[in-house]
């Protein structure tokens, strides 16, 4: 049975306890032999996710939109946090990431509470979609979004000098545009 599974799928089943003891034992034989031969890319990928995840989790990397309390906790933990608080406007200027910044936080003063989910769609000025931040969280007190980001990612994202952000809230299956603004990224 295990032979018919796609290797990555089989690995996922193995870790989730889906395989029988016999299938697991057989996979382990193959997995260890493959790893020794440098051919266990799937296991290496999952391990990478786990290890980097362990690094990101206490630094807010899983938050994708956080709270003031979380940002304060990051600062209290000794991380060098650069908090950017631009005035709400049609075009906001985001300063460059400082050399010694570890965590870059952009405060979005927009109350996004009251929706089943909130996404932020990032586009180039010509409308080309760059990415969508899905299910962003917010501060429970104010509804504002503290966008927490590792400094290296903030620097890479600043390669797009000019972006348009569309914040969309979904309630009962209906999308509502909560705000649209442009950002000029400092470098």
């Amino acid at each position: 049975m295990s032979q018919s599974r796609e290797p990555f799928s089989e690995l996922v089943d193995y870790e989730s306890g889906e395989l029988s003891a016999a299938e697991a034992a057989e996979l382990e034989e193959r997995l260890f032999a493959a790893a020794a031969a440098g051919q266990a890319a799937d296991a290496a990928f999952v391990d990478k996710i786990s290890l980097i995840g362990q690094y990101l989790l206490p630094r807010g990397g899983f938050d994708i939109g956080s709270s003031r309390a979380r940002v304060d906790a990051l600062i209290a933990a000794g991380l060098r946090v650069q908090l950017v608080d631009p005035e709400p406007a049609e075009i906001v200027e985001i300063p460059a990431v400082a050399d010694d910044t570890e965590i870059f936080v952009t405060l979005l003063r927009m109350d996004v509470r009251g929706y089943d989910s909130v996404d932020a769609v990032i586009q180039k000025p010509d409308g080309t979609e760059l990415k969508t931040f899905r299910d962003i969280g917010c501060d429970p007190e104010t509804g504002y979004v503290y966008a927490v980001c590792e400094a290296p990612l903030a620097r890479i994202s600043a390669k797009q000098r000019h972006v348009v952000t569309r914040v969309i809230g979904t309630r009962d299956g209906v999308e509502h545009t909560l705000g649209v603004f442009q950002s000029l990224m400092g470098r």
């Binding site: 996922v12 990478k48 990101l56 994708i64 990415k131 969280g137 980001c149 390669k159």
Partner: protein, 187 residues
């Protein structure tokens, strides 16, 4: 009722399959076992694990009728604790010696080593933000906190079978995202 029995009577009752007698002995001895552990170990998890190990060994001995002097059950459990502590100390000493001699060989497989490549960190963070919150939660629970699959499912309030489907989809999405350059880098 068992609360009033002597230690010897409890051991005798436990040997005859009286589960309340076992429970009473566990309740009586758990505080001192934990005290023993707190004196030697750091962290609530380590203390609790030690206490559980010691009490499990006691219950095993009770059921197998291996306690030759029932009135000295306290001393017997203390012996278990000392043996466990000795085994752990020996294991730790062995570990320390191995680490000092060969530890440098493991530097390349640590979290620290994995996050040296800041591009990989940024890439994973970028991809995480494009997943739904449930998918991020699944990754956090299953691969960062390394919880058992059934517990991951329980925390996500889905069946283990549904959690397995989520696991497949989430990892497949993540692998696809990680196989491409970040959208920020697009010209």
């Amino acid at each position: 009722m068992t609360d009033l029995l002597s230690a010897a009577d409890l051991v005798s009752s436990a040997r005859q399959g009286e589960r309340h007698a076992e429970e009473t002995l566990c309740r009586r001895l758990a505080p001192v076992v934990r005290a023993f552990a707190r004196r030697r170990l750091r962290g609530v998890d380590a203390v609790e694990e030690f206490a559980q190990d010691a009490l499990l060994l006691m219950v095993e001995a009770l059921r197998e009728g291996r306690i030759e002097q029932p009135e000295r059950i306290g001393g017997f459990v203390l012996g278990i604790c000392r043996n466990l502590a000795f085994e752990r100390a020996r294991q730790q000493e062995r570990r320390k010696a191995l680490w000092e001699q060969y530890g440098s060989a493991l530097e390349s497989v640590s979290v620290h080593a994995e996050v040296r490549d800041t591009y990989d960190v940024a890439h994973l963070e970028d991809c995480l933000s494009q997943l739904s919150k449930r998918s991020r939660d699944l990754l956090r629970l299953g691969y960062v906190e390394a919880l058992p699959h059934d517990e991951v499912a329980a925390q996500l309030s889905v069946s283990p079978a549904n959690a397995r489907v989520m696991r497949h989809r989430t990892l497949a999405s993540l692998r696809e995202c990680m196989s491409k350059r970040m959208s920020w880098e697009a010209a």
